[in-house]
């Protein structure tokens, strides 16, 4: 009697458990669909406009996919056949230069500064992190105008290096914070062991520190590139002549012109979006390694 009751209870519990699992799976699926739509709607709209052969159309005509999709707009961008896109590839090169330099310098300065602050056992190690983070008292956008005037006095107006300097200034504090936090997971004894074996500080930095923090460096690199790629305000204020113009500035001008060729603009936007996405995919392995470090540790 009691055995039967117990087994009935067990079956009930099992059924309840199974029903719960089905509910969780269904909930996850619904959430996944919502997130998918939420993340992709603006991207979808970009493609809709870019594939439309009519250049002035931004309206949604009720078709889920353009009836006559055409790559014409992409052709216009590739051959620079629009008045806004006359020097698209030069602008693209300018953007790329600024983005890559910001990335390289942020990684270099961030790793050196975080090493000095966290590993060199200086009494004032945290001072570096603190003063760097204090920069965020004034957000990047708030410093644009003073930055412009200061760059002018340095003789750096209309110079891409001024923009790079601005981006590096605002990317490094976060880079140092992230790298220090990550490096604090590596025991200091590793450094000591190398020093006992006769390694200099520079060797410790190059041979031990850098390889161990590679995953965090990958995150910092992408962060710096995206920061430079997202910028409009600094480039708009600091660069003036057409030969220094970047893609973000050109797109800003197009945005304000009601007669611009929207489809070409969105096609250019899609091409411009590729470098950070490609970098993300290239470095994805390292990021995954960075995120699973704790698994290896445990």
């Amino acid at each position: 009697m009691s055995v039967a009751a117990a087994s009935a209870g067990l079956a009930l519990a099992r059924r309840r458990h199974r029903r719960r699992r089905v509910l969780i799976e269904a909930g996850s699926a619904v959430l996944a669909v919502v997130l998918l739509i939420w993340s992709l709607i603006p991207v979808y709209n970009m493609f809709l406009i870019a594939l439309d052969p009519e250049e002035g159309e931004v309206e949604f005509t009720g078709n889920i996919w353009p009836p006559e999709p055409s790559l014409e707009a992409f052709g216009v961008v590739l051959t620079q056949a629009d008045r806004y896109l006359e020097s698209f590839w030069q602008q693209f090169g300018n953007s790329l230069f600024i983005g890559l330099m910001t990335m390289v310098l942020t990684v270099a300065i961030g790793s050196l500064a975080s090493f000095t602050a966290g590993r060199a056992r200086l009494g004032n190690g945290s001072l570096i992190t603190n003063t760097a983070l204090a920069t965020y008292v004034l957000p990047a956008a708030f410093l644009t105008i003073p930055f412009y005037l200061v760059m002018h006095s340095y003789g750096l107006s209309n110079n891409p290096w001024a923009v790079i300097a601005a981006h590096v200034t605002f990317a490094t504090p976060f880079a140092i914070l992230l790298l220090r936090y990550y490096a604090s997971l590596i025991p200091l004894e590793v450094d000591d062991a190398a020093r006992v074996d006769g390694a200099s500080s520079i060797q410790v930095f190059l041979r031990i520190y850098l390889p161990l923090i590679t995953p965090a460096l990958a995150v910092v690199a992408i962060y710096a590139l995206v920061l430079a790629w997202n910028d409009y305000f600094y480039q708009f204020v600091l660069l003036t002549t057409p030969s220094q113009m970047t893609v973000a500035m050109m797109q800003g001008h197009m945005f304000e012109d009601p007669d611009a060729a929207w489809n070409a603009m969105m096609a250019a936007a899609i091409i411009y979006a590729l470098p950070p996405i490609a970098t993300f995919f290239l470095l994805r392995r390292h990021i995954a390694a960075g995120l699973t470090l704790s698994d290896a540790r445990a």
């Binding site: 009720g62 945290s126 008292v137 409009y232 994805r284």
Partner: protein, 265 residues
Amino acid sequence: MPYAAVFLAFAVYPIGYALWMGGKPSLYVELIDDPLYLRTAVNTLLFAGLGVNLQMFLALLLSGFFMRRRWWIRALLVIYILPWALPAVQAFTSVHWILIGEMGLVNRLLEELFGIEGPMWFSHWGLAFGANVASYIWKWMPFWTLIFIAGRMMIPKELLEAAAIDGATDSRRFVHITVPLLASLYLVCTLLATAWAIGEFNTVFFVSNGSPVMSTEVLATLGFRYTFDSAKPALGVAAMMSALPVLIPIVILLLRRIQTREVQL
């Protein structure tokens, strides 16, 4: 010490210059007299408060969802990160067009699917402001979700397994293990994100562009208009400097939090 030199030249000097430029009290009198300024200051606080808290809370919950080991959830993560990697100007322009007029994507879909006539998004303060906040969350939530995923991965698995064996349900494990262990990270990220959101420019400039009639401006875009449309750079800088009373406590709190955390480690 290369960083020290760069830091002095490109951070300390411009900040000092900014303080000097925005230092005249008369500028603040002019600001207070401008009704647009007060409205903008309130907008900025609302934007940062609402945007950051919503985004952080959702990111914390979603990081748990993305910890599930299913192939389709991992694939979804790659798409979910996409908005963060997309260039801001273009993405926000696209959002602007999705919402604009009667023929934007959202309004057309509302009409086709449900027969509802969609509102004019940029003619109502609330809708335009909401569009800005939503776009900001769209762009930045993936970044913070990644940070929280990394944080969750640092939680020793034994801890969660032990709790599971003792019969703790998912929600109880979240409340009693995940939340206390991530609280410090959550606070640091929220402070950092708030400081950044107060200075946000791209979202408002490209999504609502201030409409209706400059009522959704934030301090960064208002400073831009003072400087370039009314040719008053000093007033523009002063408008931005007026956020200092809010920003300084945030950064001090942030620095304190980071120090206590280093002691814990």
